[in-house]
Amino acid sequence: MEIDNIEEMEMEMEEVLPSMWPEDIDSDKQFNIEKPGQDQDMLEEVTFKEKPTTVDFKRLLELTNFTDTGSSQLANLVKHWEYKQANVVRLLREELDILSKQKQEVELKKLEILEEHRFESESYGGDKRPISILDEVYQLWAPDVPLKKLDVVVESKRIETELAEYDTVVYWKQRAMHLEKLLEASVEREQILVHKLQESIKNIERQSSPVEELSEILKRADNFLHFVLQNAPVVIGHQDKELRYRFIYNHFPSLGEQDIIGRTDVEIFTGAGVKESQDFKREVLEKGIPSKREITFETELFGLKTFLIYVEPVFNKAGETIGINYMGMEVSDQVRKREKMAKLREEIAVQKAKETELNKTIHITEETMRAKQMLATMSHEIRSPLSGVVSMAEILTTTKLDSEQRQLLDVMLSSGDLVLQLINDILDLSKVESGVMKLEATKFRPREVVKHVLQTAAASLQKILTLEGHVMEDVPVEVIGDVLRIRQILTNLISNAIKFTHEGKVGIKLYMVADPSSEKNSNEVQSASQNCCNGEGFCGNEPYQNGSIRDEPSTPVKSEPSINADEEEQQHSPETTVWLRCDVYDTGIGIPENALPTLFKRYMQVSADHARKYGGTGLGLAICKQLVELMGGQLTVSSIEHRGSTFTFALPYKVSTSSEHSDDPDELTDMADYDAASDDEVAESYFQFQPRTLGSLFSSNGTSRTQKLLPHKLNGLSQNSYLFPYNNIRQEEMALVENCCSTVTDVAETLSEPDSNCEAPAWKDRQGQDDSNSRSQNSTSDSNHRAEASRENGVAAKTREPQGTCERQEKSDADSECSSGSSSKIPKSTSKPKILLVEDNKINVMVAQSMMKQLGQSLEVVNNGVEAVRAVQRCSYDLILMDVHMPVMDGLQATRIIRSFEETGNWNAALEAGIEQPEPSPNTLQNGHLPCGKRIPIIAMTANAFSESAEECFANGMDSFVPKPVTRQKLKERLEQYLPDCNLG
């Protein structure tokens, strides 16, 4: 009975209450709990630590009373309980009803039976009707209480009283007896039922304590919560309006209840993040909107941890916030991972960005390099054929031409020279910029360099200008530096100065300065040296020096002895660095101030007018600046318009105390001449090149040459005075061209012959700045000889004097021989040209020979430089193909020796190199043992095709080069260039 009831109850409860948990807490049934029997078992297996929860019960009560959720929860619980109780009461009532009904029925039956027995006729009697009452009773009860079928038996009680009055006594007696038994049973049952009813009521009473029921439910829910939360890194809490903890669940409690309840976060913890979380909670409290946030705490209590905090406001029934619920989960690991990921992603992104950037840069750099290389290569490629054109044009000048042809040819030559110059400049610039340019350290004599530069300039001077050079006596005799480049700078600056100066003078001043890193010092020295210079050259300079870009302050004069003392000190160490400062000054048109900033920029000229008027590439100064900077110095300029300009650069040089001969190649030939000069090496030098008047120039002709070469000693200040006459070839020619007067036709012929000597075609094609040495060498060889003659009353004895004089005397003969030599070359071209191949590699020889054969030429082959020199000594060749790298003697040296012979007519250089003079062969005798003998074209064969080594070849006197491995096409090109008359296959 009891069991049945409960089951029934359960069934009905399920309908009303979907779960044990109040509805509004788990509207989504997160907390569905299973039937008690089963989960009780499950929960038994789990142990709980119930400690973590800390509850302020008073607050809980408040909450349940004042908040909607709280009260509804409570109401639900009560409702639930009430319902349950009501149900039980109802059931009990029903039970009672049933029982009373049964009792009534039984009474009724009993009455019926009594009546029956009293009034029934015979027809009622008999066994045919056993007791049918019960069935009826059952049927009556069945639908409602089917289970009670077996238990309820109702029988009548008192039947026995009137039994004797019917039929037989026995029958009635039996019947009475039977009925009595039934009655007894019925009564017995009734009693049992009553008893059970009472028992049941007692049970119900015992069960129905509401507190027990509720706490049971709560405990189960609580257990579940604990079970679920037992290992979760979760803190759950409730805080009131003042953010004081009223409830906290923390599985890993580090504080006791008394430390938390009733206090705020700030009161409990200290450290980073606490304030933030407090503020966040307050914010939620104020806004009334639930919110989540990640907060990183760093507290003494639990170290550095990140929590994801969910805070929701709690409202009272009036809708006011009265506190917050908060839930925090520790996500430190996740945050760390996330941050790591973010960092990685960022790094990857950065890496990628870098890579793309790098790729771009690489690409750009490659492009730039390619472009530069391309420019260099192209320039080089242009230069080779162009030099061919110019050379041919120059050869053409040696032939008989009428004046118009000559004029045209001159224009052609000067244009060609200009283009060559431009290409050389571009090559130089691109070399400096791409870092390919290497500086050489060679020993050289600064005095000689200054002198040569001025000589060269004087040689091509077309104006009435005085060229002067001052070299202070403190300048060492020999220094180490890249003489080619220094010469290039000087030449460039001087030619610039000459270009922009119409009258007055142009000069170079060279003096020692202290290391310019101490600027003040250098200024002192500068002014000191200025003062000690002779006045003439400086009067014009001084005013505009003050207006220089650098705005040099005029500092007190430093006494010269101290500089000398310095120098002496430096000279004691085996190798010291000295700074030589070089001023290139002029009295020209000057540079307007606004043009100064762009002066050193490429392709920049002061104005378009200037460019038209003076021409030039606009590269010269840019190259100078780059070269000076490459050598560790600085190029500056100071200028006053219409008064003049001064370009100044100071460079460091090494000084060696050993007194070996200079490496400067162009001094090889001049060495003998200037031995005298080196006697007073430390002396101050002053060179001046005085202009001739135009009149004398015009009046002069070939016959009066010796006259005008007479020395004029114009300055008495210098200890050494070299006077160089103007012997400008071009000038005279130009003058002729300009005037083009009919009267000078004859004169032109006579003039042009000696002036454009046979060397011209050979050196013209490598006329670039880098080979300015050879140029000066060539162009001055002539002037040297003349100068020597004019120096007879000058400084010192000259070893080569007799020769020089002799040469001068023989000049006209030599010239005529030259011209006849070149004319005799033309008929010679019908025969096969003699070509010498200097090559040590057998295979290369074989290949080259075969190629030549295909080109219809034959070759003589020698295997090294010495053999080459010997071969040249033996007989003359029309062309030499020279390998650069060879054993015994390389191609460069061999070329230098051959060139030296061509220029001097002697084999001294060969002797120096240890090659003996051969027996003069009839061949050489025939050709005339002369310095102005024809210049053999020498073509280098080099494996390093880039311009660097090409420059080297040119610098050593080679005319062209073929990159190795040689191809038929390239060989053919060169042959066509240098042996235009030979018939190539």
């Binding site: 590699n841 290369n844 190629m851 054969k853 494996a943 190795k964 491995p965 040689v966």
Partner: protein, 151 residues
């Protein structure tokens, strides 16, 4: 004749493979172009000479390597010679191996030099191993009847 054609085809394939593999470059073509009726086997002669030369030079360098201390300038000189001839005949793999060798030599790194030297030897052997059968076959096939380069 048909046989010859097949052989010629084979030769052409072989020759092409040298260029494809980069063993030879255009300078070999230059050398080939130097052949004419006076000199029908010029390429082979040059190559034979080259091999004679190069084998000797490689052996010399190898010998020099065994000595201690190595005479680096001398080795460089040999290599330079070898470089010159290899570039002339268009033996590009050998040439570039020599270039690398000379670079290493500049640094003076003997150990790396030794390793690279083995590379050079391998490349050289490879070239030799490729070209010798090629020339053998070439001789077998006989001269090609092609138009002569006009002189």
């Amino acid at each position: 004749m048909e046989d010859n054609k097949v052989l010629r085809q084979q030769l052409a394939t072989m020759r092409q493979s040298f260029f494809d593999e980069g063993i030879l470059d255009k300078h070999y073509v230059q050398v080939e172009e130097l052949e004419d009726k006076d000199n029908p086997h010029f390429a082979e002669e040059v190559m034979t000479m080259f091999f004679r030369d190069s084998t000797k030079l490689i052996a010399t360098v190898e010998h020099a390597l065994e000595k201690s201390p190595c005479d680096l300038p001398k080795m460089d000189k040999y290599l330079h010679q070898l470089k010159g001839s290899s570039s002339s005949v268009g033996a590009s793999t050998v040439w570039s191996a020599i270039n690398k060798l000379r670079e290493i030599l500049k640094d003076g790194d003997i150990e790396r030099f030794k390793t690279q030297f083995l590379c050079l030897r391998d490349e050289h052997e490879k070239l030799k191993g490729n070209l010798e059968p090629y020339f053998q076959l070439l001789r077998q096939v006989g001269p090609v009847e092609t138009a002569q380069r006009p002189m």
